[in-house]
């Protein structure tokens, strides 16, 4: 049916599919639930173990998998290229350095590739937080206090009252739907204008990340123009509009490129034959298991190489077939899969993005490893040199 089958539809799967379609090879995505993008803001990080702004290229040896700097640069630039092609406005300063973004609790977080609707800064600057009274996750007062304490930089805040249609059931998505209407934008502008005289003109205004789902850029630009000062969003917790916007556009971009998105649960992968629970079956030259899943909803690659369906606690296959592997040495080229099947995403050994703040790098590196095995990067030298891929591990 297809040269390459990707199981899963989270960021690793979308990235893998983008690379594959870029070299005009066929691939099919199959998944039985949504990917994880709606659960995070979609900003990719590289490595953030400390509070210092870091040059990521000085931290190459801290990643579980040591790739050459030019490979990292290629991967990051490719990610930015794919996102831009999909209509996601990404500010790129690669490969110079990380940025700081500000979370909904006011903490600064190091990020690397960020959509332009989200506020980032190279050094800590004064900012003005705005929260919405009826949006639980926008805690502007707390945010302001934390930001001032952590950075020693001045900040201010306002909490806007609720618009007329608001009800207590409104969550972030409902707020964004409202902001996608002319009425919503008009309400927001008028409320900010009431408090604008108190906000220093040179300070950026930061709004919760609900300023529209389809019209976010339009709305932020309209506010910036009307107020005469920069307006951005800060990310909230799940469900995240940033991730949803990225998912909507990236999936759409791939569909337009002809990538099928099949719905179904893969229950076995055996010698290139992918079988779904509904009986559909096809052969692929290569299968990429991209089911890491923040929620663990996908297939889990266990440390002995078995593929487990965590919901039903059943083993549905083995990777690589017929041979146990230690996933904590997964980075070794000889051990991270077979020519027919590889894995990418959070279940791969050696990566701990929660601790190391390197989830973005993990996605890129593991997708790279998987795709090297498919041969689609055959013209790129670092894929062909096993010495260039060094496992560091824990």
């Amino acid at each position: 049916m297809s040269a390459i089958t990707i199981i899963g539809q989270g960021p690793a799967a979308l990235l893998a599919a983008s690379f594959i379609q870029e070299v005009q090879q066929d691939c099919v995505i199959v998944a039985d639930s949504e990917g994880s993008l709606p659960l995070w803001s979609g900003s990719f990080d590289f490595h953030a173990p400390s509070d210092d702004i870091s040059n990521p290229w000085s931290l190459l040896d801290r990643q579980p998998l040591m790739l050459p700097a030019e490979t990292w640069a290629f991967l990051w630039e490719s990610l930015v290229g794919f996102e831009r092609a999909a209509g996601i406005p990404v500010a790129a300063d690669i490969p110079s350095h990380n940025w700081w973004t500000i979370t909904c609790t006011g903490k600064s977080k190091s990020v690397f590739v960020v959509p332009q609707w989200q506020y980032v800064q190279k050094t800590f600057l004064p900012v003005w937080f705005i929260g919405f009274q009826g949006l639980a996750d926008s805690m502007a007062d707390f945010q302001c206090h934390t930001y001032q304490q952590q950075t020693g930089v001045d900040a201010g805040f306002h909490v806007l009252p609720n618009p007329t249609p608001w009800t207590p059931s409104w969550g972030p998505i409902r707020w964004a739907s409202y902001m996608d209407t002319d009425e919503g934008l008009s309400w927001l502008l008028s409320e900010i204008q009431k408090v604008a005289p108190e906000i220093p003109k040179t300070w950026p205004i930061l709004l919760p990340q609900v300023i529209g789902r389809r019209r976010a850029e339009h709305n932020l630009q309209a506010l910036t123009t009307a107020l005469g000062q920069m307006v951005f969003e800060y990310p909230l917790v799940t469900p995240s509009l940033g991730g949803m916007r990225i998912r909507d556009r990236w999936v759409w971009y791939l569909k337009k490129q002809g990538v099928p998105f099949l719905t179904g649960r893969a229950i076995s992968v055996e010698k290139g034959w992918v079988t779904l629970a509904d009986g559909r079956q096809w052969h692929s030259d290569h299968v990429i298991v991209a089911t890491g899943g923040i929620l663990g909803g996908g297939l889990e690659v266990m440390v002995d190489g078995r593929l487990r369906d965590p919901l039903r606690d059943t083993v549905v296959g083995r990777m690589p077939p017929g041979r146990a592997i230690d996933l904590y040495s997964w980075g070794q080229p000889a051990d991270y899969g077979t020519p027919e099947m590889t894995a990418c995403g959070s279940q791969c050994g050696g990566w701990d993005p929660n601790q190391d703040g390197n989830g973005g790098a993990m996605i890129l590196a593991t997708v790279w490893q998987s795709l090297c095995r498919t041969g689609i990067f055959s013209n790129l030298g670092s894929c062909n040199s096993e010495r260039s891929v060094t496992h560091v591990g824990k």
Binding site: P38, K255, T263, G264, G297
Partner: protein, 400 residues
């Protein structure tokens, strides 16, 4: 009764894919109406149903998105069944839950507004026009007939899309299959009743249809469906929820065509195109319906269109067109239904473009919104085959 009914982890991914939640600011969304309501109802069976529960289209996108496989849409259908309605809305919903009644007497769709409005039917959405049976246009089959396939005649095709039905039958026969229309008389798979919050009535209807079909199934190799909702209902919901197992596999027309249509047919679809015909090629917009996406996924219609040599294939960027079976025919849903479909109008700017869609009601709705003709892939495939093989007339002219 349900597997994973209490498994919700409140991740809200279901809300992120719900087309109605993104459009209707009063709609509480699938999490609130499904798993949240179910937990409250388990704790207190006197929990009052939400006044907005009927605003769910039963598209099932929420259920398909759930990482822990909560049967969200089916919990909402159960929720719907507890809602009290006025007699006139009850009557309307009872009619719409039995589309096989309407298919039996399709002229009912011609009822004037002053009669239907008091019952809560909308007047802004276009109503389908009855179509009489069209004789299949194919000549003798091109290959030996060795296999018999059952062509499931859904209510909409029976009453209002006979040209699609004829095209599908003609193509199947061209490909060398004997075709048996199933069921013989007007019956329904039960999906409409389930979507309307009448699961028990849906089950009764489904069993009746099963009984009407089963005597003629033993020599079939396959059942082919034309409507995406009926397709997933027969294949998945019948065995899962209503303990009905058909003895032969069920497959959509599109997947059947991709798998079974002979090579000579695809060759013919690519040959014989005159320069004038090539110039006249229009954009082929693809809309995979919600239920088709939930059941099988996106990209199958695109593959079919590509294999048939159609030019300029573009998927419509549309989560849900708003038709939702009978959703758009209800006065309280017309505004949402048309707002959902409005995104199609931003994309389909030429009325001579074609829209390929695997549901009759979605086709009707998209045609109204965009002005471009939306039809089932069987219709477009057969049209193209006729034009390229220089056969006389087209389906529409034969119908006259």
């Amino acid at each position: 009764m349900w597997e994973n009914d209490d498994a919700c982890i409140k991740c809200s991914i279901c809300i992120s894919v719900c087309p109605v939640y993104g459009q209707d600011l009063e709609f509480p969304g699938p999490k609130a109406l499904g798993p949240d309501w179910f937990r409250a109802y388990q704790a207190n069976p006197l929990t009052v149903p939400s006044e907005h529960v009927d605003d769910c289209t039963f598209c099932q996108l929420c259920e398909a998105s759930c990482p822990v496989h909560v049967p969200i849409a089916h919990l909402i259908a159960q929720h719907k069944s507890l809602k009290k309605k006025t007699w006139r809305i009850n009557l309307r919903d009872r009619i719409l839950a039995h589309p096989h009644w309407v298919a039996r007497y399709p002229r009912l769709a011609n009822a004037p507004n002053f009669l239907v409005r008091p019952l809560g039917f909308g007047t802004q959405s276009r109503w389908p026009r009855p179509q009489r049976r069209v004789a299949p246009l194919s000549s003798s089959p091109q290959a030996d007939t060795r296999q018999i396939v059952g062509l499931f005649v859904d209510c909409y095709s029976r009453g209002f899309d006979q040209d699609v039905l004829s095209a599908a039958q003609a193509l199947l026969e061209l490909w060398g299959f004997s075709v048996r229309l199933l069921p013989h008389a007007s019956h329904c798979c039960g999906a409409a009743a389930y979507a309307a919050g009448q699961p028990e009535e849906g089950q009764r209807i489904a069993h009746s249809t099963y009984d009407a079909m089963t005597p003629g199934l033993t020599d079939l190799s396959q059942i082919v469906t034309l409507n995406a909702t009926c397709d997933s209902t027969l294949r998945e919901e019948w065995p899962l929820y209503w303990n009905l197992s058909l003895p032969v596999p069920v497959l959509s027309f599109s997947e059947f065509a991709l798998d079974k249509a002979p090579a000579w047919f695809w060759d013919a679809m690519h040959k014989g195109m005159t320069a004038r015909q090539e110039q006249g090629e229009t954009t082929s917009w693809i809309h995979t319906t919600c239920r088709s996406r939930v059941s099988r996924g996106d990209g199958i219609l695109e593959q079919l269109a590509d294999k048939a040599g159609l030019a300029a294939i573009q998927p419509l960027n549309l989560a849900c067109c708003g038709a939702g079976g009978s959703y758009a025919f209800k006065e309280e849903h017309e505004k949402t239904a048309h707002a959902l479909g409005a995104a199609a109008l931003e994309q389909v700017t030429e009325t001579h473009d074609r829209i390929i869609v695997d549901s009759g009601t979605c086709a009707l709705h998209l045609t109204q919104i965009t002005g471009a003709l939306a039809k089932h892939p069987a219709y477009w495939l057969y049209q193209r085959f006729l034009s390229l093989t220089q056969r006389s007339g087209d389906i529409a002219s034969q119908e006259k």
